[in-house]
């Protein structure tokens, strides 16, 4: 097989993936037009989780480190929406940037410490930090403590159009998902992305080429935290409720589940993973209260039989 042939084939594969995702995205845009609130909210829910999964994939897939603490940043988004609304600030062009910045600051701090480690230690440090934030949220008595609190006011675009309306929520979160995925894709295709991938493959060699991986990885970690918080803002609006449960390590685990189900390091895979997770959750939980068990079986099957995750099912055709 000649080099040019390989390149052509991978270009064809990329084209097929891009087309598939345009089709899926357009389908997602059409669903809310059915005026079925259940399905519209399903799209919103998938988008919210997909935003978190894509941002987590930057760390898991591209940085090669497993974070078990991304719910912390998601939760920062949830609490930003709730607490700001309490103070009468609900405009989306304020809430989203503030959630983004706060998560960035905290993400930079957590990243600065945890990125000094890798492997098992990284998993546990990110877990420890997210547990700290979980307990801080739980300790906020004026914000309901362990019980959380009702979202005082939905995040608004402008008078009469706010995220309590299922359709607005779905389109907003689809838009954010598209933006986040596009930015992530651009960054990962840039020089910066090359340094990140090279550092994942062999950080010693990156060093000996003259670059220290750490500042690059910290930048990516911070950005990932920022993006994840945007999903959290949507989540608060979706549930119309703010709760420490959104920061729990179970939530972090679910994000990881989505990334792995879809295929880490691909950006599009985790979107598929989030869609599959949310859909399965809805179907299985309507059918049995032991739905988590079946989800576990599905993840096992994926790991054993689908080398490249759900994404591989699409990109494999005709290859």
């Amino acid at each position: 097989m000649t080099g040019a042939h390989v390149i052509k084939q991978s270009e064809a594969k990329n084209l097929r993936l891009t087309l598939t995702f345009c089709a899926i995205f357009i389908l997602a845009l059409l669903v809310p037009m059915l005026e079925q609130v259940y399905y519209t909210k399903l799209i919103a829910r998938i988008s919210v989780f997909a935003i978190a999964a894509v941002s987590l994939d930057l760390i898991v897939g591209f940085s090669g480190r497993v974070s078990l603490g991304h719910a912390a940043f998601f939760g920062i988004g949830v609490y930003s929406a709730g607490i700001l609304a309490q103070f009468g600030i609900a405009q989306i062009w304020l809430v989203m940037p503030i959630a983004f910045l706060v998560a960035g600051l905290i993400g930079c701090f957590i990243g600065a410490i945890s990125l000094r480690t890798s492997g098992l230690y990284f998993i546990f440090i990110t877990l420890a930090f997210s547990q700290m934030i979980f307990f801080i949220a739980q300790g906020l008595r004026m914000y309901g403590g362990d019980d959380g609190f009702r979202l005082p006011a939905a995040t608004v675009w402008f008078e009469g159009v706010d995220l309590s309306q299922a359709k607005v929520l779905a389109y907003t979160m689809l838009g954010v998902l598209l933006a986040v995925t596009y930015v992530a894709h651009r960054i990962m295709s840039s020089n910066f992305g090359q340094v990140i991938i090279a550092s994942r493959d062999n950080s010693r060699k990156v060093n000996s080429l003259g670059l220290q991986p750490y500042p690059y990885q910290l930048t990516l970690f911070t950005l990932s935290a920022c993006m994840c918080a945007l999903g959290g803002v949507g989540f608060a609006n979706l549930n119309e409720y703010v709760s420490p449960a959104s920061i729990s390590w179970v939530q972090s685990g679910e994000f990881l589940f989505m990334v792995i189900l879809g295929s880490a390091g691909t950006l599009l895979g985790p979107i598929l993973g989030a869609a599959a997770f949310v859909t399965l959750e809805q179907i299985l939980s309507a059918w049995t209260e032991y739905w988590m068990f079946y989800l576990g079986v599905i993840l096992m099957l994926r790991v054993l039989f689908l080398k490249t995750g759900l994404l591989g099912l699409i990109s494999k055709q005709g290859a």
Partner: protein, 253 residues
């Protein structure tokens, strides 16, 4: 070679606990010179290299690069100064193609890693100098191949290509011939010969034929200390070297 050396170590010492692995080593490499470092397994050659590149800190002694003391300079910064190293076991990026390695080396040497938006260069954007480097090491036809598809010898060639595409002034090559077949070895030796005039080269190698045909100077490291240093002829005839290291081997030739 009247100018000052590009690399100079002065009495560097490194010990791990009670074990002294580098024992007051002083050596120098001039630009355009190939200085070979030989010694039996466990003599401390790789440890010495790690101190020169900065992966290990020296306990005492000084390291100069182009006249500047670099003891406290990080690995990455030493690389940017122009110290480029090929490892004993080739260190590559598993998910990247041959061409991407050169692109990565360029990003690093130009310090353009924080370009976060513009698409990074690809196979079609290889510059003519990058292509000629690939040609030189014999990998041009494999430019689009992933690392995993390369044979061992090709991985060595790729690592050398990475060194050449950075703005290196000093190449530190740790056993570049290890694991190569006879034809590949010959090609590598010719390649090194052609590179000699452009760089200072510190070569660690077990293949004595290669060392004696390439080196301008040879230093012999035994138990962490340099027991002899000089031209090929001087080393070949040094009684201390003969008994300590080369032994019978030399009589065969």
């Amino acid at each position: 070679m009247s100018q000052s050396p590009i690399l100079e170590t002065v009495d560097i010492v490194k010990s791990f606990g009670a074990l002294m692995v580098t024992d007051r080593v002083s050596l120098s490499v001039y630009s355009g010179e190939l200085h070979a470092l030989i010694g039996p397994n466990g003599a401390g050659k790789s440890t010495l290299i790690n101190q020169i590149t900065g992966e290990l800190e020296v306990n005492s002694g000084l390291i100069y690069f182009e006249g500047e003391m670099i003891n406290k300079v990080t690995v990455a910064a030493r690389s940017r100064l122009g110290i480029s190293r090929a490892y004993q076991v080739p260190q590559l990026f598993g998910s990247m193609s041959v061409a991407q390695h050169l692109i990565m080396a360029e990003i690093a040497s130009k310090n353009q890693g924080f370009k976060m938006w513009a698409k990074s260069a690809g196979l079609d954007d290889l510059s003519s100098s990058q292509k000629s480097i690939l040609q030189q090491v014999g990998l041009l036809h494999l430019a689009s191949k992933p690392t995993a598809a390369l044979a061992h010898g090709e991985k060595r060639q790729l690592e050398l290509a990475i060194c050449l595409s950075s703005k290196a002034k000093l190449l530190i090559l740790d056993e570049p011939l290890a694991g190569l077949g006879p034809t590949e070895s010959e090609q590598m030796i010719e390649l090194l010969r052609s590179l000699k005039s452009h760089f200072g080269i510190l070569l660690v190698e077990h293949d004595m034929d290669a060392v004696f045909s390439l080196a301008d100077r040879v230093s012999v490291l035994v138990n962490g200390a340099i027991i002899a240093s000089g031209t090929v002829e001087q080393i070949k005839n040094d009684p201390l070297v003969k008994s300590a290291y080369l032994g019978e081997e030399l009589d065969v030739h």
